[in-house]
């Protein structure tokens, strides 16, 4: 189905990242069940990596849950963006909502709006299915076999997630200069808040997002403000 095919790049991008996650969980001595459960039930790469780091540094469970909430709060905005552009079948929505991640959102929001909610729904479902199956199986593979990877390969795989984000960002900013400014502003604000002011990671994300997109939408020049630019 068309959605699944559209999701293939995300699937392939998720393989090294998922393996990196499984491997990281293993090297941090997390139980296999926990690593897999995180990928199966949370399905949020950045948050999962963050959780492993927090567990390693001895954070309390409630602290990790709170951090996850703020880090993933951006998905609320992403879902809002999707729902604003497409109509989906009501019964399918709970499933579609589960699979909203940074990458599936980036691909889904580039998709043309189909004629019927059914088509929109099956497209996004196919896309998310590709991403999800890759993520879960890669976690399992990374956990089980990751230790056969040489140390430098495993270390290098740490950039996989950020390369994926980069690959999603570049096509969006090459067309017009304004989105690039917004992206840079978000990056700058997030960096300042998190590094300079010691704001909690999830919270600084949301502030950076709201500020950059909020101001951007207010001052957007007409050409760059079109939804098609997203």
């Amino acid at each position: 189905m068309a959605g699944f095919i559209a999701g293939l790049p995300v699937l392939m991008g998720y393989l090294p990242v998922g393996i990196a996650f499984g491997l990281l969980a293993r090297t941090q001595a997390l139980p296999a069940g926990l690593a897999l459960a995180l990928s199966v039930f949370v399905f949020a790469g950045a948050a999962q990596f963050m959780a492993v780091g927090l567990l390693a540094s001895g954070s309390a469970v409630w602290g990790i849950i709170a951090a996850t909430f703020f880090l993933n709060l951006r998905h609320l905005l992403m879902s809002s963006s999707l729902v604003a552009r497409h109509r989906f079948p009501a019964w399918l929505s709970p499933f579609l909502a589960f699979g909203v991640t940074d990458e599936t959102f980036a691909v889904a929001s580039s998709a043309p709006t189909a004629a019927s909610p059914q088509k929109n729904g099956s497209y996004v479902l196919g896309l998310e299915t590709a991403a999800y199956t890759a993520w879960v199986s890669a976690t399992a593979v990374g956990y089980s076999f990751g230790s056969v990877l040489p140390e430098r390969v495993a270390a290098a795989m740490g950039v996989a997630l950020y390369c994926l984000f980069t690959a999603l960002l570049v096509p969006r900013i090459r067309k017009a200069w304004f989105p690039a400014v917004v992206a840079a502003a978000a990056a700058g604000i997030n960096s300042c808040l998190a590094s300079g002011f010691g704001v909690a990671p999830g919270l600084s994300f949301v502030i950076a997002l709201l500020a950059s997109a909020g101001v951007g939408a207010a001052v957007a020049p007409n050409a760059a403000g079109k939804e098609a630019a997203a």
């Binding site: 790049p9 392939m12 991008g13 090294p16 069940g33 926990l34 039930f41 949370v42 959780a51 990790i64 849950i65 996850t68 909430f69 951006r74 998905h75 609320l76 905005l77 879902s79 963006s81 999707l82 729902v83 604003a84 109509r87 989906f88 929505s93 709970p94 579609l96 959102f105 270390a155 290098a156 740490g158 950039v159 996989a160 997630l161 950020y162 390369c163 994926l164 984000f165 980069t166 690959a167 570049v170 096509p171 969006r172 989105p179 917004v182 992206a183 502003a185 978000a186 990056a187 604000i189 997030n190 960096s191 950076a208 997002l209 950059s212 997109a213 951007g216 403000g225 079109k226 997203a230």
Partner: protein, 100 residues
């Protein structure tokens, strides 16, 4: 440490924000400002996701991390696709770790 609580808690606080707009936001007629805001969210989110965390992607080697991301950016500019960008970026980072 209660593993079930951790997973269930993380799953819930992740899923509910994702779900809310699907069940609550039924309005088709959003004001233009809101539409522009929502359409700028993807680029803003991606920018904030790459920095500052991308710099610490390879533990202890910020410049290797940045180089990996830069290679991914170049490959993306060359329209070589997501897979090439990820593999190229990881490959470049690995190469630097070998050489340095």
């Amino acid at each position: 440490m209660n593993v079930f609580l951790l997973v269930a808690g993380m799953a819930l606080v992740t899923y509910i924000p994702r779900l809310l707009p699907f069940v609550a936001l039924r309005s088709e007629s959003l004001p233009p400002y809101v539409r522009r805001f929502l359409s700028l969210l993807p680029v803003a989110a991606l920018g904030a996701l790459i920095f500052p965390d991308g710099v610490t992607a390879v533990p202890g080697r910020p410049w290797v991390s940045v180089a990996g991301i830069a290679v991914a950016a170049v490959l993306s500019v060359l329209r070589l696709g997501m897979v090439a960008s990820v593999l190229g970026g990881v490959g470049a980072a690995w190469l630097l770790l070998v050489v340095l």
